[in-house]
Subunit: 244 residues, 2 copies
């Protein structure tokens, strides 16, 4: 099983996707929050590239579909819950009261990466919190794997890179792997060097600074809890559901 | 002094260059060989993006300028010296017999990166072999620094990333620095984790495999010799000379 890491969506090539499993990382905080939501039993998470389109879709949905509960709106403006939204982008906000609900989540970098990965045979989202579960599922699929960092506005993101290293290291625990490219070598080496300081490493990056500045430091603690959640998150048509 | 790392030329922004010192890394092997050539007293190294244009320029030069020795042609095809060229791309080939000569060097990834960095106030080339000397000179200039990986055909290169980490760590020895972006955090962490295994780390990457496959493993030993050369290589108009 060959495993490649791609540092930014703009660096994807068709060969990274055709017939492969693509796993998208936006560790602070979208894909950590998605894992947290799936873990409490959210029914599905539909993703949108901005808060306006998420809000508009939720409104239309509520008008057209009166038979089921409307979706909950989740997103962020400067790391905080937008006005009129039900939820922010914190992984800590999900609890048993959200079981069975649908979420409409606005996440700019995450949506961009997921759309870029759509040519893969299977698309998953993952983070440090569900690295081992994701690796185990990738092994069961058997296809080669591309671990894709969402990055931040087109630039390299430390926490996403560490996340890919975590899944790569977990894949190695499940059987033989071929480390496909130099980014994968670097990501695994960096994760291995920092696996006992994940919290500090996440906090040191640009994304970590923004989360701390918004007063949400416990979100970093949450995101750094390696393998805390036994969930696998699969994307189909921009909608994310649990792999049972 | 702010220090950023840019993983590929395609990710450069104007803010990475304006008023700054840009340092280009193509560790296996162009910028290691450039440092080696400068160290033996080569007069200058003019760079070209392919062997045909280097050869054509050398021919034209020889016709037009009969007063001085013609340039030596250096480059590679599949890691080896091209037919009709005086030199390959090995850093080990430079010795005192090359003192005072001009080199025309064909280097695809290196030339692309150097051209992309041309908006900087100062452009240098560097590698592991002259990390400390380069850092000391950057400090003397005082401007913020952008460390640019050449990469390989548009993809992330492990050895270039390690090289930027080496200069970043060396800059930290010269005084205070502000680590500007996440790529710089990751590069320094990776260099720190691997500084006692530089040879093995270079050999593990895609570029290292190619060099070994061509029977040139000693080039990796050479490239891994941290701070072995006390030279600084400055680029002006695609011509590289020693900073005295």
């Amino acid at each position: 099983m060959r495993v490649d890491v791609v540092i930014l969506p703009s660096l994807l090539t068709p060969a990274n996707l055709a017939g492969k499993t693509a796993v998208v990382f936006d560790v602070l905080r979208a894909t950590t929050s998605i894992a947290a939501a799936i873990a409490v039993g959210v029914r599905s998470i539909r993703i949108f590239s901005d808060i306006a389109s998420a809000a508009a879709a939720a409104k239309a949905e509520s008008r057209e579909n009166t038979e089921e509960d409307p979706p909950l709106l989740a997103g962020e403006v400067a790391a905080l819950r937008p006005p009129g939204f039900d939820l922010g982008n914190s992984p800590r906000q999900y609890n048993s009261s959200h079981r069975g609900w649908r979420i409409f989540l606005a996440t700019t970098n995450g949506t961009r990466a997921i759309m870029a990965a759509s040519g893969a045979a299977t698309v998953l989202t993952a983070a440090l919190v569900n690295a081992a579960a994701t690796a185990k599922f990738c092994r069961s699929l058997g296809a080669d794997v591309t671990l894709l960092c969402a990055g931040t506005e087109g630039q390299f993101s430390l926490e996403d890179f560490i996340g890919t290293g975590a899944v790569l290291a977990a894949l190695r625990q499940t059987g033989e792997i071929t480390v496909g490219n130099d980014a994968a070598l670097a990501a695994e080496a960096l994760f291995t060097a920092r696996r006992d300081q994940l919290r500090a490493t996440l906090a040191s990056g640009h994304g970590g600074h923004n989360v701390v500045a918004a007063g949400l430091e416990p979100d970093i603690d949450f995101a750094a809890r390696l393998d805390a959640l036994d969930v696998v998150c699969r994307v189909e048509d921009l909608e994310i559901t649990a792999v049972i």
